[in-house]
């Protein structure tokens, strides 16, 4: 530490060793014998304090210390490790310090020096010392005693007391303050752990999708596990976006580092990603925008990320990577291989970096695994071995009925303690069968996904492009009618059923509303459209609701 940095050189500044010699010189202190002071010490550390919240507990201990030592001020500063500063957290007789959010860098000023040296420190005459905090001199504080607050040998803060009159602090004073500080240290550490746990939980709850979309024929599964359960949140994240037309976009990423800063960068990246996707940008463009944003944020945090979008109707993936580990593709036969991707630079390193979108077929029976390094990396092991293990795990898990992410995770990590965060997202394209049954919310927003699902279902029977278009659009028209019937009803739903038998597709769309007189031209056109596109259209209007039945024979089935 720099010997020129003020306080330490002040003529009145004495360290603990020096004070030993001047024991008994204390002045301005009400007479107190040893027993009395130990009684007060007990009062500082009694167990009733355990029931208070951290803030209340810190305040209470400071108040008791003030009484026990007959000092005018008592304050606690905690170390912010990320920024290397001490921040005022609780104070008595010096409340401005907390209100104004006073901060002092490590190794500077009175508190900074104590934290840096991890030793008690006394200033007998503040006037002659170079103090960083103007509040201390404004208050007219004359003498100060401060001690480090530590947990397991680590300094986590500083506690100090001060008097308006000149005072020489005795050994017992230092011991007393140190014992109070130790007691606080435990409480603070416990509180911080539960705070971290709470933050981790909030991040998990709010920043990760709480429910994966339910899409017929597509099984999504995910795992997110922070390492060391709640010690420090990491920057791993994944997300699933359902865009109109049945297209799904998956994102996975890993912000370098841990702690709240990494988590906040992750949160901002995730929100921005949603915004760019909703705006309709192409994937590589989204990645470039995200990169420019991270560079502009200037937090010096880089991140790797992968974006994959899946068009279920076309059976195609588009993928773009910013330095992320390669996505694993399990082919319909069960053989897994890593996507050969153009790996762009990680995000947040160089502005205006270009990324490349590549396309891959993704047929029914295929699966995709996106993951972060925590899933495959083992200390002291080449990464190729981790990748090989993942490939084997995915091939084996593909034979189970369990969701793929669960199977892969169980095979790779099981119950072993985690060395790093793990985020894992799996997408499986499953066969739809000869019947498709859907119950949908009566909201026009479902139409695009409905057409995509019907199209995907038809494609599995080898329906031609025209047939697929005609049937999907007719189902969508009938659904549009059902939605219109439910107009005004809250939480109304309607049912769609499609059957494939002997090269013939039969569809029924059933609602619980009344069929309204066709409102020309829209609805009239809808009905005309269904009649033109399908072989047969029947409408059953009942007391309970309306059912539209349609059929169409496919020219070439499978």
């Amino acid at each position: 530490m720099d010997g020129d940095s003020g306080v330490e050189r002040g003529p009145q500044l004495e360290e603990l060793e020096d004070i030993d010699a001047s024991d008994g010189q204390a002045s301005g202190r009400p007479g107190a014998d040893g027993a009395d002071r130990f009684g007060r010490l007990e009062s500082i550390t009694d167990s009733a304090l355990g029931y208070l919240s951290l803030e209340e507990m810190l305040s209470e201990v400071l108040e008791r210390i003030r009484g026990a030592l007959a000092v005018d001020t008592a304050a606690l500063l905690l170390l912010d490790e990320d920024r290397g500063v001490l921040v005022a957290r609780a104070a008595r007789g010096l409340e401005e310090e907390v209100r104004q959010g006073f901060q002092v860098p490590l190794a500077r000023g009175f508190a900074g020096t104590i934290a840096a040296q991890a030793r008690p420190l006394v200033i007998e005459d503040l006037d002659h010392a170079d103090v960083v905090n103007p509040i201390l001199s404004q208050k007219g504080i004359h003498s100060m005693l401060g001690v480090p607050v530590h947990v397991e040998g680590r300094v986590i803060g500083v506690m100090h007391v001060g008097t308006l009159a000149r005072r020489v602090f005795a050994d017992e004073d230092i011991t007393l303050v140190q014992r109070a500080a130790d007691r606080m240290a435990l409480a603070i550490d416990n509180a911080r752990l539960s705070e971290q746990r709470a933050v981790t939980e909030i991040v998990q709850r709010t920043l990760l999708p709480d429910a994966l979309p339910q899409i017929p024929g597509i099984r999504l599964s995910a795992k997110y596990l922070p390492a060391g359960a709640g010690i420090k949140i990491g920057g791993d994240w994944y997300d699933v976006f359902q865009l109109s037309g049945g297209r799904l976009t998956f994102a996975i990423g890993d912000v370098v580092g841990r702690g709240v800063l990494a988590a906040s960068v992750m949160a901002e990246a995730r929100t921005a990603l949603r915004a760019y996707l909703i705006e309709g940008h192409e994937l590589s463009e989204v990645m470039s925008l995200l990169n420019d944003l991270l560079v502009a944020m200037g937090r010096n945090r880089s991140a790797t990320a992968a974006l994959v979008s899946f068009d279920p109707e076309l059976g195609e993936l588009q993928a773009v990577s910013a330095g992320h580990l390669p996505a694993l593709l399990v082919e319909p036969g069960g053989v897994a291989r890593f996507l050969e991707q153009h790996h762009g630079l990680p995000l947040g390193i160089r502005v205006r970096e270009r990324y490349v979108t590549e396309r891959y077929p993704f047929m029914v029976g295929s699966a995709l695994v996106l993951y972060t390094d925590g899933l495959i990396e083992r200390r002291g092991e080449p990464i190729d071995e981790g990748l090989a293990r993942l490939r084997a795990a995915a091939e084996a898990a593909g034979e189970d009925d369990a969701p793929l992410a669960d199977g892969v995770y169980r095979r790779l990590l099981g119950d072993a303690p985690l060395e790093d965060d793990v985020a894992l997202l799996a997408v499986e394209s499953l066969p739809l069968g000869t019947s498709l049954e859907l119950t949908l919310e009566a909201n026009p927003a479902v139409l695009a996904d409905l057409r995509a699902t019907v199209g995907r279902w038809l494609a599995s029977f080898g329906a031609g492009e025209e047939e697929l278009f005609d049937i999907a659009l007719s189902v969508s028209e009938a659904a549009g009618n059902a939605i219109e019937h439910a107009y005004g009803a809250r939480r109304a739903r309607f049912a769609v059923r499609c059957d494939y038998h002997d090269n013939c597709v039969q569809v029924s769309v059933e609602d619980r509303g009344r069929w309204r007189t066709a409102r020309p031209p829209t609805r009239g056109r809808g009905l005309m459209l269904m009649r033109s596109l399908m072989d047969s259209v029947e409408i059953e209007r009942g007391e309970e609701g309306t059912t539209v039945r349609m059929s169409k024979r496919l020219a070439s089935g499978s």
Partner: protein, 131 residues
């Protein structure tokens, strides 16, 4: 959130909706298309290259748009690929009787008379809009 990509060439606006047009978004796209038209715009080209499905609400919206533009004497052209399902749909619903449809944006642009010389005699100079 923007549902369409817009480009301008002189007095022409070329709008490409990104995705399907159906009962969920037809009204919003109608509004966006209307806002593409500056007062001095001579024409609007709606490029449906990125649109896979267009339902009856979408068809209705385009027909109403065609009628509004006809009244203010602004040209409307629609672009759909000749071998696309949308082109077939347009034939089925008789869209081609009401709107001029082209295979590419440049074909559509070439079909819009530039710097209309004289519109003083109103209806008489309105182009034949039969496809």
């Amino acid at each position: 959130m923007s549902a369409l990509a817009l480009k301008r060439f002189d007095g022409l606006a070329v709008a490409r909706p990104c995705g399907d047009i159906d009962a969920a978004n037809a009204a919003a796209i109608d509004e966006e298309l209307a806002s593409c038209l500056t007062p001095d715009a001579t024409g609007l080209i709606v490029d449906l290259s990125d649109t896979r499905y267009l339902d009856s609400a979408g068809i209705d919206m385009l027909l109403r748009l065609a009628e509004r533009l006809r009244q203010r004497r602004t040209e409307l052209r629609i672009v759909v690929a000749p071998d696309s399902q949308l082109r077939r749909l347009f034939e089925i619903v008789g869209m081609l009787d009401h709107v001029r449809v082209h295979a590419t944006v440049s074909d559509a642009m070439a079909d819009i008379p530039r710097a209309a010389p004289d519109v003083s005699d109103g209806e008489a100079s309105a182009p034949d809009i039969r496809g």
